[in-house]
């Protein structure tokens, strides 16, 4: 195999958003050490400016239909890649806004914090474009390095250090799985680019290889049984980092999962449907049940996140274009509701210094704005109409029903009921329980902006989803020839197709 790495100016254009952000990253770093007296808020706004510019550039690509591949198919720019890049950049902007107040807690390297966040975002943008196994490995690791540092950013906090260490060890472990999987797949097929593997034979080595890769990506999205790092790491990390960790890497990893399952493994669909059904059921059930027992809001959101990933995997298990659309849509609704909820966790922790659910007592009286927003976000996460989360769940379930995955749907519906319980426990605390201390809470400007954006997204997508549906349908146009109904494939076990 030979690589042709010569690039023409038009190839460079495909890389424009990444190049732009890389340059800006350097500018942020240079500004930081050139003007040490500059308030770090300015640095945050500077980073946001760069991200907004990148977002504009991506939107321009999306509208004008610029697409193509680079580096012998390693790097692809298509509408799905652009969707996930915008997803990541948008999430990063919100996270930076939500971090601005929190950064004062860091004793050192406050400026570098923004640098690391944006660098991770850059890595995830590359992930969204990864089109072969090598670029999957490189981009995945690139994006994770930033997180290793960010997770343990509270240097004097034991929990943060412990979280960072655990995340690092397990992250490296997952990287090992990934590398091992890649080597097996390459050994069996001699191919690295996803689209070249369509005609591969299903040898045991290939299956094990992909299983290992799935394990590494499952680690990234926090699907059971690869979820074990999530609660501890989410709990110990600085909260804005937790927020970041809970959404952006999941989006980027789903971009890779979609390409892997729908391009490289499209012909093996009967083999992997049950794998995904199992992972989905495990994630939803485990996440939701254990979330009930949580006393800490971050751990609660961590387990809720595991359950939500289970929901997204339903769309992957459907394995159709519609399932694919539903995943994109669902992730978008999750972005607004989840980041909104985390923003409120940050705001509350900033004001009262606690993340225990008990301390949310009487929030409805102490800060009606925060409590009401939290209510909306939690209801959206639970999937209550007319909020965005409801449409997302509906979309993903319809996709699965069309494939006859009735067992999965039944489990999913039961899980929604369970999830309602612990989401509403928080609501009950906020509105019904008397506050320990009735003093009102102050909310900073940038934080309000994040909450308003979250509310706007949650409400608008819920009431008028059509433009977003049109967008995600267009974003996954290249999967329009995906396999038809699963019932036509004889190898799907009857428990999946006729249960329920």
């Amino acid at each position: 195999m030979t690589f042709s790495l010569t690039m023409s100016p038009s190839d460079l254009l495909l890389l424009l958003p990444e190049i732009l952000l890389t340059c800006w990253l350097c500018v942020v770093l240079i500004v930081d050490f050139s003007f040490p007296r500059l308030p770090k808020e300015q640095l945050a706004y500077l980073s946001i400016a760069g991200l907004v510019g990148t977002l504009g550039c991506l939107a321009w690509f999306d509208i004008s239909g610029i697409s193509g591949t680079l580096f012998a198919n390693m790097f692809v720019v298509d509408r799905m890649a652009l969707f996930f890049k915008m997803f990541v950049v948008g999430a990063t902007i919100l996270v930076i806004l939500a971090s601005m107040e929190f950064v004062h807690r860091f004793k050192f390297f406050r400026g570098e914090y923004y640098f690391l966040v944006v660098m991770s975002a850059l890595g995830m943008m590359f992930m969204a474009s990864a089109n072969d196994l090598l670029s999957v490995f490189v981009t995945l690791e690139f994006s994770t390095f930033g997180f290793y540092v960010l997770v343990s950013y509270l240097r004097e906090d034991v929990a943060s250090n412990e979280a960072g260490l655990k995340f690092f060890i397990l992250g490296v472990f997952a990287a090992g799985l990934l590398a091992y999987g890649i080597s097996l797949v390459y050994g069996e097929t001699g191919k690295l680019v996803f689209s070249d593997m369509k005609s591969a034979q299903a040898t045991p080595g290939l299956i094990i290889g992909f299983l290992l890769i799935f394990g590494a990506l499952g680690f990234k999205i926090g699907a059971v049984p690869f979820h074990s790092w999530i609660p501890d790491t989410y709990h110990g990390s600085p909260t804005p980092v937790t927020a970041f960790l809970s959404i952006a890497p999941k989006g980027a990893a789903f971009a890779i999962l979609l390409r892997m399952f729908f391009v490289a493994l499209a012909t093996f669909k009967p083999t992997w449907v049950l794998l995904l059904v199992a992972a989905s059921i495990l994630s939803m059930t485990y996440g939701n049940i254990v979330a009930i027992a949580q006393k800490n809001i971050k751990r609660l959101l961590a387990y809720s996140g595991i359950a939500q990933v289970g929901n997204v995997l339903i769309g992957l298990a459907a394995g159709t274009k519609m399932g694919n659309d539903a995943i994109l849509f669902y992730l978008l609704t999750y972005l607004f509701a989840n980041l909104g909820a985390f923003a409120i966790v940050i705001a509350v922790s900033q004001a009262i210094g606690s993340e225990e659910i008990d301390d949310y007592s009487g929030l409805g009286r102490r800060s009606p704005f925060l409590a009401f927003s939290m209510l909306i976000f939690l209801l959206s996460l639970a999937g209550v109409p007319p909020l965005a989360g409801f449409i997302g769940k509906l979309y993903i379930f319809v996709a699965a029903i069309k494939e006859g995955l009735y067992t999965l749907i039944t489990v999913g519906l039961i899980n929604i009921v369970i999830s309602m319980y612990y989401y509403l426990i928080v609501v009950k605390k906020m509105y019904i329980t008397e506050p320990h201390d009735p003093s009102p809470l102050a909310v900073s400007g940038p934080m309000k902006a994040v909450v308003y954006i979250g509310l706007a997204g949650t409400l608008i997508i819920g009431v008028y989803p059509q433009p977003v549906i049109d967008w995600v349908v267009a974003a996954t146009m290249m999967f329009s020839d995906l396999a038809g109904p699963a019932a036509a494939l004889p190898t799907v076990p009857p428990v999946v197709s006729s249960g329920g």
Partner: protein, 655 residues
């Protein structure tokens, strides 16, 4: 172009609601809040004029889809508008009169707490009312219907710290719920029969309806209309609704919302026409309400309550008109009524404003000199509603009565004529007590009496002008401009031609009746002021019955409200003891399950994995201190999971 204008009509007030509702309290002053409010309604009015001009020119109805809202199975509901001549009339009234009342409110509400809130609700009401009259299907109609109900509730309870206002608001809401239930049933029946909710499609296939089904739908619709338009027996909420600020009474409880019932009946006349029973019922409800409310109006002493009962009574005329098939006349009366009743309410507001909040006519008197403009305009309104030509009220009321006579509904004619006499009497009684005779105000109030500012008197003048000349839109009777405009939607009223002589005779009689009412009022309240008390003392029983509104409220309390409250308490007990018990039991089980899972994670899974972990420990004793004691468990879970999934795949592959 017209389509765009149609879409824009409800958008302006909606934007004002969003702007004032979200930011009004923080970002700008009261000045900007009210400018936004009346400005947006004014823009809607301009759009309406453009749209109406187009409908007039082309003579076609416009159907515009704003966006597809619900779609699935049989059911497709669009947020779509239908603008035909009927909608045009309502649009003009709603935006035109609404605009004047918004301007008036700027003066009336000046200095009140919650100024911005008031205008936000008013604009929200405009949006809902516009949706109500513009929707092209029953769902949008229902949204508007509920929206205006909500705004009515919010605005009646505007002074929410006043107990009576809060109670009146709840009463209006609850009584309306009864009507809404009927309306919903009607919508369901329509959908079951036609599999669509669009007017045009429904009315196109209305012929397939069996007479019984048509009666059922029409009666359910009527229940809805009776609730919203405060007809017997659901009229009790409207007089209480006078707790709201006066502009609210004028806009919602006189000119626009309460006529929604009439709009619905006229809009659905194709269904009503199929069912003689339903038509008869509409007419009976209307006729009885017209007379019933008028009798109560005779003895009330609160200036706004007299007007409220008069509104109920006038709405009765409109229903009577619908019931005997005089749809155009009913619509005509809606329009003229909007003019003169808004005028009366706003003038009454001006009186109340002048007297620093006094509403009891026994404490007024002799105001004609002190607030001359208000007096003149109120008098115009009184003459108009009394039905004295050539003012607006005469033409529309006379047309309904004439239609009843010509089509041999003599009983209804009698009811209407008696009601007209009473109307004339109590309205002039109101005028005499308020503006003539000696002053009965206390000294302090009298010192402060002042004419209202121009921002209030201006809209009054515009409404006064409309009350003077508005009737000529329907002149000559049965063949006026309005009749030709509405002919495509409301059907032609008088099929059999009536001789000019009969028409003139009926007009003379109607005028005579009105003048007779005036004369009696003049005798009792101007020439012989001691007479009313004597009359009241003589007919003590009747007087008290009327004063207490036939004890309907008390009757409802005993028959409905109290039993419902008891039922509520019983259900509450059942809920707390039985249902909650079950829920708690389930919740406890779920908690136990969660605790169990956590325990299992800690002890079973980790315990099992510890075996692997111990092996690890033995191999790397010197690394022991570096390990947290947990991470390797995590890694082990991942590995175990991978094995599990590998087994799953193996099973599939083997199949």
């Amino acid at each position: 172009m017209t389509d765009l204008l149609i879409k824009l009509i409800p958008v302006f007030p909606l934007l004002a609601v969003i702007a004032n509702g979200l930011f009004g309290r923080y970002l700008w002053s009261h000045d900007w809040a009210h400018r936004l409010a009346w400005g947006s309604v004014g823009l809607s009015f301009l759009c309406t004029i453009g749209v109406v001009a187009d409908v007039l020119r082309t003579g076609t109805a416009h159907e515009v889809i704003a966006y597809q809202w619900i779609f699935g199975g049989d059911l497709t509901i669009n947020l779509a508008y239908l603008v035909d001549p009927l909608t045009c009339v309502w649009l003009l009234v709603v935006t035109g009169v609404g605009f004047l009342i918004h301007v008036y409110s700027v003066g009336y509400m000046h200095g009140e707490d919650g100024f911005t809130r008031f205008f936000t609700y008013m604009n929200l009401f405009m949006v809902s009312m516009l949706l109500l009259v513009m929707g092209n299907n029953y769902a949008v109609l229902f949204i508007g219907w509920e929206g205006v109900g909500l705004c009515s509730y919010l605005l009646i309870g505007y002074y929410y710290d006043k107990v009576s206002a809060a109670k009146a608001a709840s009463k209006a809401f609850v009584v309306n719920r009864i009507g809404d239930a009927g309306f919903l049933l009607a919508i369901f029946l329509v959908f079951i029969n036609f599999k669509t909710l669009d007017y045009t499609k429904v009315f196109a296939q209305v012929g397939q309806l069996s007479p019984d089904m048509a009666t059922a739908i029409a009666l359910c619709l009527l229940v809805g209309a009776v609730g919203k338009s405060a007809q017997l027996p659901l009229h009790t909420w409207l007089p209480d609704a006078m707790e709201g600020p006066t502009p609210v009474s004028a806009l919602i409880h006189a000119a626009t919302m309460v006529t929604a019932g009439v709009y619905m009946v006229v809009r659905n006349h194709a269904i009503f026409d199929l069912s003689p029973v339903a038509m008869e019922t509409v007419a009976i409800v209307g006729g009885c309400t017209a007379l019933f409310a008028a009798t109560i109006g005779l003895v009330q002493t609160d200036i706004k309550r007299v007007l409220a009962y008069s509104t109920v009574s006038q709405l009765g005329y409109m229903f009577l008109g619908c019931g005997i098939g005089a749809y155009t006349a009913a619509v005509f009366h809606v329009m003229t009524h909007a003019f003169f009743k808004a005028l009366l309410f706003l003038s009454a507001g001006s009186v109340i404003h002048a007297l620093s909040g006094e509403q009891d006519i026994r404490k007024m008197g002799g105001l004609s000199k002190k607030i001359p403009w208000t007096y003149r305009l109120f008098l115009i309104g009184t003459v108009a509603i009394a039905g004295i030509p050539p003012l607006a009220g005469f033409w529309s009321k006379d047309e309904i009565m004439g239609h009843a006579f010509v089509h041999h509904h003599y009983v209804f004619y009698g009811l209407a004529a008696l009601g007209a006499f009473l109307t004339s009497f109590y309205m002039f009684r109101l005028t005499y007590l308020t503006f003539y005779g000696p002053s009965r105000m206390d000294h302090h109030t009298e010192e402060h009496v002042h004419e209202s500012p121009m921002v209030m008197v201006g809209p009054l003048m515009a409404l006064g002008l409309l009350s003077l000349v508005g009737g000529f839109l329907g002149f000559p009777p049965e063949h006026g401009w309005l009749h030709q405009f509405l002919a495509p939607v409301a059907g032609v009223g008088g099929e059999h031609e009536v001789g000019t002589g009969l028409v003139l005779t009926l007009m003379m009689i109607a005028t005579g009746i009105a003048l007779l009412g005036w004369g009696l009022a003049h005798y009792l309240y101007s020439m012989n002021p001691a007479a009313p008390d004597r009359w009241a003392a003589k007919a003590q029983g009747i007087y008290n019955t009327l004063l207490n509104k036939y004890y309907v409220d008390e009757l409802y309390d005993v028959l409905v409200v109290e039993p419902t409250k008891k039922l509520g308490l019983a259900l509450d007990w059942f809920d707390r003891v039985v249902i909650d018990g079950i829920v708690r039991a389930v919740g406890t089980m779920a908690e136990l399950g969660a605790a169990g899972s956590t325990w299992a994670e800690k002890h079973v899974i980790y315990g099992g994995l510890n075996i692997i972990g111990y092996g690890n420990h033995l191999l790397a004793k010197q690394w022991r201190q570096l390990q947290s004691g947990m991470v390797h468990h995590y890694a082990a879970i991942i590995i175990a999971g991978l094995f599990l999934l590998a087994v799953v795949i193996q099973l599939i592959v083997q199949r």
